[in-house]
């Protein structure tokens, strides 16, 4: 008898608890829904606002000319070229080093202590504000090495900044490669380097490319580290040997130009550049999604 009463009492409590949980659940659900809605709204708002203000500025001359009082043109052709220069040079400096460092850390380094120290260092490097990199780059590459305000100085500075990102993503990709591949290849008589070249790096490639794309995003969006290293030149390089000399000249990326335009209260130009930058970011993200999906399909 008592048992029965107890049982129903506990059932009752249980029921009440269930109701309570349901209410909590509903509240949490609504809150999450609102938060997500807010995030989407903000994103859509920014994009729409920038596009609405920016697109009217975008005409053909905006892309094909440089700003000139004499010719009466307003354009970002020079800045686009500079951006490409900086991206390419930075990657040339950072990708082989970063990937090499990751391979060494993961596959060769004998001492765990050294590895952990280096990993700690790279992690810390990621957290350093980019203006600090800018200052270091200006003083070290610009003054000490005498490279001055130049695209090269900017690219070298940025390469330091993205090095941890490349190393990290490569290391993670290498770690995800099953040990069975390593044993299998070594057991076939492959040398370590052959194994790395033919098995590890190809398997890690999706991760490495993802890291590189993220790095490109950071380079394109960077301003503080470039302002005092690559400077703000906006002219197009002369065709011919000028294409090489350009490396030693000052050159501002799109982001730098946008900063300068805002400082001069040329908001039309700034919005135009912002629209271009947003398009680039969207394109990058799409590309990343596409590649990831493709790779997932292949590996399955």
């Amino acid at each position: 008898m008592t048992r029965k009463v107890n049982y129903s009492a506990s059932l009752c409590r249980h029921d009440f608890g269930l109701l309570h949980a349901r209410i909590k659940d509903a509240v949490a659900y609504t809150a999450i829904y609102l938060a997500a809605f807010y995030a989407v709204l903000v994103l859509a708002g920014i994009i729409l606002y920038v596009f609405a203000k920016g697109f009217p500025v975008l005409d053909l001359p905006f892309f094909t000319t440089v700003t000139s009082v004499v010719n009466g043109t307003v354009g970002i052709a020079g800045n686009m070229v500079n951006t490409v220069y900086i991206v390419v040079l930075t990657l040339i400096a950072a990708v082989p080093t970063g990937v090499g460092a990751a391979v060494w850390l993961n596959e060769y380094a004998a001492s765990c202590k050294a590895v952990r120290l280096i990993e700690f260092a790279t992690e810390t490097l990621t957290g350093i504000p980019s203006i600090v990199f800018g200052m270091f780059g200006m003083v070290f590459f610009g003054t000490t090495l005498g490279l001055g305000y130049s695209i090269l100085t900017g690219a070298l500075t940025l390469s330091l900044m993205i090095l941890p990102l490349i190393t990290r993503s490569t290391q993670e990709a290498l770690r995800a490669v099953p040990d069975g591949y390593r044993d299998g290849a070594i057991g076939m008589g492959a040398t370590k380097w052959h194994m790395i070249r033919t098995i590890l790096l190809p398997s890690a490639m999706p991760g490495i490319v993802t890291g590189i794309l993220l790095a490109v995003g950071r380079i394109v969006g960077e301003s503080a580290a470039l302002l005092f290293t690559a400077g703000s030149g906006y002219l197009l390089p002369d065709v011919g040997s000028g294409l090489v000399h350009k490396i030693m000249e000052s050159g501002g990326t799109l982001t730098i130009q946008m900063y300068l335009s805002m400082a001069r209260a040329e908001y039309d130009t700034a919005f135009g550049i912002a629209a271009v930058l947003l398009c680039m970011v969207l394109a990058f993200n799409l590309l990343l999604k596409l590649l990831t999906r493709r790779w997932n399909r292949i590996s399955r």
Binding site: G184, I186, G189, T198
Partner: protein, 252 residues
């Protein structure tokens, strides 16, 4: 009678301070299947890996004693690893096809050893897949990723990959423990074929398997070889009670 293919003398192996192989002296007969049995952690895999120096990859490993392949010490200085591992191939517990096509998996070994001719590679691929009894299942999908094969097929692919470099010895570490009974049977049949032209050393936890495929069997316990000899003799009347107990399933 078969000659001696591999001969270990007083082989000791240490992982740091852990003495994993204790004075193992053993002859492995050519063109026969030798099974290594014993409870988990007794050093079977360690011994197997010592036969093609896969332990070299592990940090803190120290080895004393001799391992002779056709009378030549494989731990002597100046031994070419690539050449050694070409002669002594290995198949692992987990099928580990490389993330590439079936064709490229098989061609991987020959390419390491410098084979570039497309025609010869084609021939090697077909011959190896046939020998591993998986040609019929793969001939129409050679360019497809090896990951698309079933576990049992993947393991036979790995055997084919090991055979592609024409090894003399095949080391197999529990090659069927991750497979279903039907695939296991296929691989056991394959082993009986292979031993005509290869020396096979196989680690197994399955006593029936050892009885079915192995000519010789060695029983390991805590890093020592307790007893070794013809499988028939060992399984019908082992001298050491520990061997008898293990074979009868009274051990871990």
């Amino acid at each position: 009678m078969n000659g001696i293919k591999i001969e270990t003398t007083d082989l000791n192996l240490y992982y740091g301070n852990h003495h994993a192989l204790k004075a193992v002296t053993m002859d492995i007969r050519a063109d026969a299947v030798t099974a290594l049995i014993g409870p988990s952690g007794c050093g079977k895999s360690t011994f197997l890996k010592a036969l093609n120096r896969m332990n070299d990859l592990t940090k803190g490993v120290r080895i004393t004693g001799r391992v002779r392949l056709d009378g030549v010490d494989i731990y002597a200085s100046g031994v070419d690893m690539t050449a050694l591992r070409r002669r002594v191939g290995m198949v692992f517990q987990q099928p580990n096809p490389f993330p590439m096509s079936i064709y490229d998996n098989i061609a991987y070994g020959p390419r390491i050893h410098g084979e570039k001719s497309r025609a010869r590679l084609d021939a090697v691929v077909e011959r190896s897949l046939r020998r591993a009894a998986i040609w019929e299942e793969t001939k129409d999908r050679l360019k497809k990723p090896a990951a698309g094969l079933s576990g049992g097929q993947q393991q036979r692919l790995c055997i084919a990959r090991a055979l592609a470099v024409e090894p003399e010895v095949l080391l197999m570490d529990e090659p069927t423990s991750a497979l279903d009974p039907a695939s296991t049977l296929k691989i056991e049949e394959l082993l009986l074929q292979l031993k005509r032209s290869y020396t096979v050393v196989i680690v197994t936890h399955n006593m029936q398997q050892a009885a079915r495929v192995a000519d010789d069997t060695a029983f390991f316990l805590a890093g020592e070889v307790i007893e070794k000899g013809r499988t028939k003799r060992l399984f019908s009347g082992a001298q050491d009670t520990r061997t008898r107990d293990y074979i009868a399933g009274r051990y871990g």
